[in-house]
């Protein structure tokens, strides 16, 4: 039996970055907010203290911070000719869990997308012609421009204290920054992180090649910073335990280090952890959300009525929640109609391992967003006319760690076990550096999310099914980007170099990136988007859906800054527009 609780102004599903950002905005505006989180509460000193945060076995190998697949998982297939099977262990991406969400275990690479990324379809057609895009490519414009989102990028960066060197302030190109970035309204809140030897050497080689390398924008702070909410972060210690780990030093921007200390002091905020929302409830019209139903850890079922529902879970779970709740028309790949599950996309990463005779890199001196990058091959920063693909990514010397269990790269053909392997690891550990590419991914008609016909979860819901494979456009791009980063890496003077461009088919069992996106995309046309520009559902106006699920396709940058900026933008729209006439669409379809 489901018991009904007193109604609240707003219910938030998932207390990660976007849930925290919206909870802060709405409680500040005076609303009563209840956040429901499926995982545990997490505090720095209690849950990932410096005394054991750097436990590679626990966090990296055994996935301690992530959702247990036994609690919720997905099925996967490459295409309609295969039968999807459940993922029983995480592989190519890591679904977050618990308060802080992915903000606890991210690398804190805090990029903005390029202005042209927001008009990827119209921009590329304008430059290269309609026939340049493959028929099955379903990339779309976002329904917003870079100028629309710029103030919110700024808000997130100043919340986090992001460390970087601006390349473009109000249209003025700055030395030392990324000359390709969109104009920013002001400098970064803190200077770029210090760079260890590998990135320094790469930057020198890049300059010699004629590029303009710049430090990767970092949420691991170069110096102490107090944000506009009054919360203080410490300087990064370059321990190199960022991605898949919580930061014990209060130096990585996360909801814990930027928002939650203020939020928990507000009387109109409540969080219920270890509670899994199983459904968003609708009234009889199907046009209004009445709240959510959740199950607590005792197995008890509760209805939390609310005037406003904010779906702030991880991208894949947002799609699953809408499909399970019967909200919006599910996407049908055979007709290319419907919106929920449409345009599922990913990112395409690759690497080059370089082995040196005479150079000692001390790779353990690092941070998750250390590195010197080159942006000449991202988005449409270069002419694709002769290349036969669109899109790109940043390339750079971004070795985020020297963790002992993982950092055993050896030249191709080396033994993979035994005494010889040990000897080679010993010889190479300090003398190896990895350079990388971080490419975007277009969306396609056959890459989508739907409900699995066979497998169900612990609550009896059909599992979400992922239908995805790489397409030639992305594989060509990866080859091209890998060659470009290899050109620069070669100038660093290695004795040997191995290139690993991404090749198909997509392997769901090998970690690549957690940057899944799409499925509840934003846009200007309700026929091809689930959300308007304010992340408001076209179908259910008192429902807003945050996260990378709103991306119509993925750019060649880490997505968190854009995810957070969109949440700030939605928060402003809710407080300044929506609440004046609750329940109304902010954009007329």
């Amino acid at each position: 039996m489901t018991r009904r609780l007193p109604s609240t102004d707003a219910v938030i599903i998932g207390l990660g970055w976007t849930g925290s950002i919206l909870a802060e905005a709405l409680t500040r505006a005076g609303l009563n907010v209840v956040a429901i989180e499926r995982g545990p509460w997490r505090d720095t000193a209690t849950d990932f203290p410096t005394t054991y945060a750097q436990d590679e076995l626990r966090y990296h190998i055994r996935h301690d911070l992530f959702l247990r697949p036994r609690q919720e998982t997905f099925t996967f297939r490459h295409n309609a000719n295969e039968t999807a099977l459940p993922m029983r262990a995480w592989g190519s991406f890591m679904p977050p869990n618990g308060v802080g969400g992915g903000g606890v275990h991210w690398n804190a690479e805090t990029w903005r997308f390029l202005p042209s990324d927001f008009q990827q379809r119209s921009h590329n057609i304008e430059r290269y012609g309609k026939n340049f895009l493959p028929d099955d490519m379903t990339i779309q414009d976002w329904g917003i421009t870079y100028d629309d989102i710029e103030p919110y990028y700024d808000r997130f960066e100043y919340l986090c204290g992001t460390s970087g060197i601006a390349g473009n302030v109000k249209g003025v190109i700055k030395e030392g920054g990324n000359p390709f970035e969109g104009p920013r309204s002001r400098e970064y809140p803190t200077p770029g992180q210090k760079q260890p030897f590998g990135p320094t050497l790469f930057a020198k080689a890049a300059i010699e090649t004629g590029f303009k390398p710049f430090p990767q924008p970092s949420g691991n702070l170069s110096q102490a910073y107090t944000n506009p909410l009054g919360v203080t972060l410490g300087p990064c210690t370059y321990c190199g335990f960022c991605e898949w780990f919580g930061c014990g030093n209060y130096s990585k921007a996360s909801p814990q280090t930027t928002i939650l200390p203020v939020l928990v002091r507000r009387q109109n905020f409540q969080a219920r952890t270890q509670c899994e929302v199983v459904k968003i409830n609708l009234d009889k019209s199907g046009k209004r959300a009445t709240g959510v139903t959740y199950i607590d850890s005792n197995g008890e079922s509760w209805e939390q009525p609310a005037e406003l529902v904010l779906l702030c879970a991880f991208q894949l779970f947002n799609v699953h929640m809408l499909l399970s709740s019967g909200i919006g028309q599910p996407y049908n790949p055979s007709t290319n109609e419907g919106v929920i599950g449409r345009n599922y996309s990913y990112q395409v990463t690759s690497s080059v391992n370089a082995f040196f005779e005479d150079k000692i890199f001390n790779p353990f001196i690092s941070s998750g967003s250390i590195g010197m990058c080159v942006d000449d091959f991202n988005g449409d920063n270069f002419d694709h006319g002769e290349l036969g693909f669109i899109g790109g990514g940043y390339i750079g010397a971004v070795q985020t760690n020297g963790r002992p269990l993982q950092s055993t790269n050896l030249p191709a053909g080396s033994p993979s076990w035994g005494a010889d392997w040990k000897k080679l690891v010993k010889e190479n550990y300090l003398r190896t550096y990895q350079t990388v590419t971080h490419g975007g991914c277009c969306s396609y008609r056959d890459a989508y999310l739907d409900l699995d016909p066979t497998y169900t979860d612990a609550f009896g819901r059909k599992l979400l099914r992922i239908n995805f494979d790489f397409h030639p456009n992305e594989l060509k791009m990866s080859q091209y980007l890998t060659d470009r980063v290899a050109d620069i890496t070669q100038k660093m003077g290695p004795k040997h170099m191995d290139k690993f461009p991404r090749t198909g088919p997509y392997n769901s069992t090998i970690y690549q990136t957690t940057h899944t996106c799409g499925g509840v995309v934003m846009g200007a046309d309700p026929k091809t988007s689930a959300l308007n520009r304010y992340l408001q559902s076209w179908d259910v106006p008192n429902l807003f859906v945050t996260g990378a699920s709103a991306f119509p396709q993925n750019a060649g940058y880490n997505p968190t800054n854009t995810v957070a900026a969109l949440a700030f933008m939605a928060g402003d729209a809710i407080v300044n527009q929506y609440l004046k006439a609750p329940g109304r669409p902010l954009v007329q379809a």
Partner: protein
Amino acid sequence: MMRQAACGLLLLLATAGTASADPDGQSFDQISRGRYLAALGDCAACHTIPGGPLYGGGRPLETPFGTLLAPNLTPDRETGIGAWTEEQFVAALRDGKFPGGHLYPAMPYTYYTRMTRDDALAIRAYLATVEPVRNDVVANQLPFPFGIRASMVGWNELFFTPGEFKPVAGKSAEWNRGAYLVEGLGHCGMCHTEKNFLGGDHTSRALQGGVLQGWFSPNVTGDAHTGVGGWSVDDIVEYLQTGHNRIAAATGPMSEVITNSTSKLDHEDLAAIATYLKDTAPQSGAAPVPLAANDAAMRAGAAVYTDHCAACHAAAGTGIVGLFPSLKGSSSVQSVDATSLIRVVLEGAQSVATDPAPTGASMPSFGWKLNDDQIAAAITYIRNSWGNAASPVSAGDVGKSRKQLSQATP
């Protein structure tokens, strides 16, 4: 409406005088002053169970002689103090006497005796307005012979000097206000003055620090080395207001004092407290000489510090303002008694979060990771580096604390 009420109040005050408790519950000025004074006296710290009804009583107070339960101060006539007369209330605060006999000095009447009758009545007027709670608290849980309240007659003879505060001539009004607050309602010495074996103050060592409930409440005299002599008035005000300043971060019992009491006080009163504290007699004797850097314990401590402490507190011990306290120049790090320091390393600690300083950063526990020798070496090192100087801590000291903490009920 408010203005009319205030006018009415002025009339009332003009006719009734000021030295009377609020006869009809409308004395806005007196009630709000009483609320402020109740915060200043931190009455809620003992008389409210955290999360329980305000002033509903029942919170256990552990004393070296046994447990007392703080009484119900709500206006409930049967189980609270609703039926008390003004005289009874004033006598309880200032003389340690109540309708049932003598109070135990866990109630700081030895300090409250310095407060004016007006202030006592304001608190009374405020307490009369809180929600009555029916909660029959049996305060006295002490074992024989301490359970006999009459024993307090003798105790009072020895350790209680009743009498209202008398301003000291030649000192500024601010100094005198500070003295009134520190020695009276603020009852700072309740924790910060060492107690003798019968629980009375060692008055000759007033405010020089004392151990209570497993914490060493640090020296808050003007001593430049172990007290607040090195802090400016602004440093002290900031600390009391926010829990943090350029050197320190409050934790342990002081967190509660800041949350419930000092963060709610006027800047003027905090500055007065600071002015007075800075002028209190410094500890006699020269500052100790630091251990040599090549001392064996110092070398071992430096290694432990680099591996486990420096990431937050920085190689030079400077910490991060608002986040990690500075160890360099910290009077509490250089305290004569290292009880709190050992405890914080063993158990970890959460610094207080306040509205102006909401971060509330925490230090993790190192008790499971470092052994007694390592902890002793690290503490000895921080007490004798970067210009700090204090007695070394032995592995035995750490082991003793470890044992006590493991036996203490949480």
